[in-house]
Symmetry: C2
Subunit: 124 residues, 2 copies
């Protein structure tokens, strides 16, 4: 399995939360699963910029921390459905607070990023 070499300090609640939801796509995944998007292929369709591999890795971490669970139906073709655990549900208000705050800043944030791009000559 994966072995981290640099110790992290989890004395602070923030650090614990960041460890749990800190991946690049975990917030989307939680958001979507919270909205009822359950199957891996659907999730991938909603977040096409990420590869299956990365989504799977992050889903595994969320599962490891008990935030989500999965039902596996041994059919053909195989079917898997993710869901929020009770513990995961307890996280949703925090997620929503984070999303709300961020949403209020999206516009200004984009401008800031454009200014930054101009300065360094990048034009996506």
């Amino acid at each position: 399995m994966y072995e981290k070499k640099i110790p992290k300090d989890f004395s602070c609640g923030m650090a614990v939360l960041m460890e749990i939801i800190g991946g690049k796509w975990k917030s989307y995944l939680l958001f979507l699963i919270g909205k009822g998007v359950r199957r891996p292929s659907e999730l991938h369709r909603q977040v096409p910029a990420a590869t299956k591999r990365v989504l799977n890795l992050q889903l595994k971490e969320l599962e490891f921390h008990g935030i989500i669970g999965k039902d596996i139906y041994p059919e053909l073709p195989p079917r898997v459905e993710y869901f929020l655990t009770d513990f995961g549900q307890s996280l949703m208000p925090v997620i929503n607070a984070m999303d709300n705050w961020g949403s209020g800043y999206v516009g200004e944030f984009r401008q800031l990023m454009e200014r930054k791009s101009e300065l360094s000559g990048i034009h996506n």
Copy 2:
């Protein structure tokens, strides 16, 4: 300057927030500055595990996003004091919500990490 090559998608408020506070030590820094720890040397003393360089990088990012500001006193020896902007203040309730949730999970989290370490044979 630093040029990112992989585009990020900030359509979601969560992603914006994570971009702003997502660094390894930013949460500590905000927490400490919010508590009134102002000077770089003090901050470094409170977070000795991080190097000055990294703390500076993260402080700069927080400053770039308008979360914190700094007063520079051109004295000898030089003195710098960070402070939360109004915008940064607006973030604190979210930070606190995140910290509270995480704090409630610290114990269980540590156990989980130990179990993980046992499995892979790591004993820090």
